[in-house]
Symmetry: C2
Amino acid sequence: MKYTIALLAGDGIGPEVINEAVKVSDAIAKKFNHEITWTPALTGACAIDAVGVPYPDETHEICMAADAVLFGAIGHPKYDNDPLAPVRPEQGLLLMRKKLGLFANVRPTFTFPSLIDNSPLKRERIEGTDLVFLRELTGGIYFGEKGRRDGGETAFDNCVYTRAEVQRLAKKGFELAMTRTKKLCCVDKANVLETSRLWRETVQAMEKDYPEVTVSYEFVDAVAMRLVQWPNSYDVLITENLFGDILTDEASVISGSMGLMPSASVGEHTSLYEPIHGSYPQATGLNIANPLATVLSAAMMFEDAFGLKEEAEAIRAVVNKSLQQGIVTEDLVVKGAKAYSTSDVGDWLVANL
Amino acid sequence: MKYTIALLAGDGIGPEVINEAVKVSDAIAKKFNHEITWTPALTGACAIDAVGVPYPDETHEICMAADAVLFGAIGHPKYDNDPLAPVRPEQGLLLMRKKLGLFANVRPTFTFPSLIDNSPLKRERIEGTDLVFLRELTGGIYFGEKGRRDGGETAFDNCVYTRAEVQRLAKKGFELAMTRTKKLCCVDKANVLETSRLWRETVQAMEKDYPEVTVSYEFVDAVAMRLVQWPNSYDVLITENLFGDILTDEASVISGSMGLMPSASVGEHTSLYEPIHGSYPQATGLNIANPLATVLSAAMMFEDAFGLKEEAEAIRAVVNKSLQQGIVTEDLVVKGAKAYSTSDVGDWLVANL
Ligand SMILES: CC(C)[C@H](C(=O)O)[C@@H](O)C(=O)O
Ligand SMILES: CC(C)[C@H](C(=O)O)[C@@H](O)C(=O)O
């Protein structure tokens, strides 16, 4: 088969980790007789530098025309100290999500047996953790009306959700739960917020369509606690945009394998796959960043966007092998062992596929 | 000196833990020659049952007339499964905060050397943690306009902050930082929210008045991560209402001593002191709940509301002694050792003051 993939390397370590994912993807394609055309496009700080906006129209057209988007990371320190700057990389991210209709961000958190001791949590707390967040990504307070009144003395952000927005996200949650242990947790703040009450009543009304799924409803503050205490008690969690931002990041560090966590954003048009670790500016150009989260994001892309399960499994198998054999970058290296470079790890994966 | 304390025992284990804090407070008062008058008043589910509303006017008057409020917990399972019920205990809590002008919730998270192994985090991660959150408590999305449109199909919650609201909270944060290690972290989401940008610019403008304080600005999602990874890297954190709700609860479980964490809510009128653990309905009436968080909340009350530092220290000292000697309820007991009842612990504290 033939696939066109929009390649948005972005900023910081983005280009380096993307490079390894491309190598691995090309090797897989060759092995299974597929043909991949990569279409690079600008986004983030590098797009602002080149053309003045963080998500150029041309990039959007390339994404729309592609079968999938593989995304690195965006962000640059020169903007980090000035969130009040008029043009910022993050605006590109939000615009991209909105224009591609990426309403569901799929964020798994799982453990690798060989990496459990990297977790800040004790072994008995984290062992067996395998959960997935579905974060709503194009609504809520991120996209509601915002501004100032009273000559700048009062600021406001509006959080808005429609029943249809909740339904389409929850539907994905129920469907995902059906393929797993059939446990779904709806995270909200229904004891305070009207939008949360809409979330809760909408999900409650959908329960009857999925009689096999056991649904629980928990307040966001309680989930923030239980994620640290008993992360392995969760399976699929669905939540709104801002709660999802906070909780998925909290969840990402508990496994101790942040550098390995892939993600997908799916919705109305082309789906997007990206590592969750961000642009890690301090490591830019040093060939030390861990490429595995991006490689595993490519695996998600093969499986979910192209329906190529065997190819995805082959990628995951070789990643597991590299972990077992200690072919890892410095973030994962056991004391005393040798750290491999970003490109070494990619080369090893390609050679061992 | 003479003090009048409004006693809001509330629901669940509230009355039991409050009882022990009263015993300890009375013993301290006797020892140091003070006179305490306790004025009990209804709030929460028990107030709904008795008079139909969760924060009756009479209770409010009692609080306003008192030198301090000692609060147990509110909440009852009969409301938990139905956040859409028209009258709920939580409404009483929000009304109480608003009417008493309790705009700053002070939530310390610290470790007791003898309890470090209770933490879900590894020892080296949690050791030395001693941080305080100042959560804004009467503004933001909790109190903004909320409702439905389009025949109930669209829900909205408005998040609003004024510069004056940010200033009065931040002022407390700077002042607290000055009494500690002079490190202040402002937690916001200034890369997305206009209210957060107002927070950030307001705090930035106040920096010059506190030249000794080192201020950092971090996004809420990053803080949710670092709290699990390196909680001991924080000192004083200030944040808005909803972020504070989520992060203070996350912080409360990392120490492993949730049953010991006190809190204060301060502002325009009478200050309120309460344990953070909530109403723990399953334990109601069993005389097993840990009273130490409430006893330590009373210590905060003596120190902050009455300016009685020596009295507060005496309470903290006896609590430490009880922990060292293993005079603790079942939540803290080491395997094989004897668990004491709620009232046993209180009796022991009084006897050993
Ligand atoms: C950069 C920022 C706007 C973004 C978000 O808050 O959605 C990021 O934190 C994320 O989670 O992808
Ligand atoms: C019960 C609820 C309304 C309350 C809040 O969200 O403020 C609670 O979670 C708290 O933190 O005191």
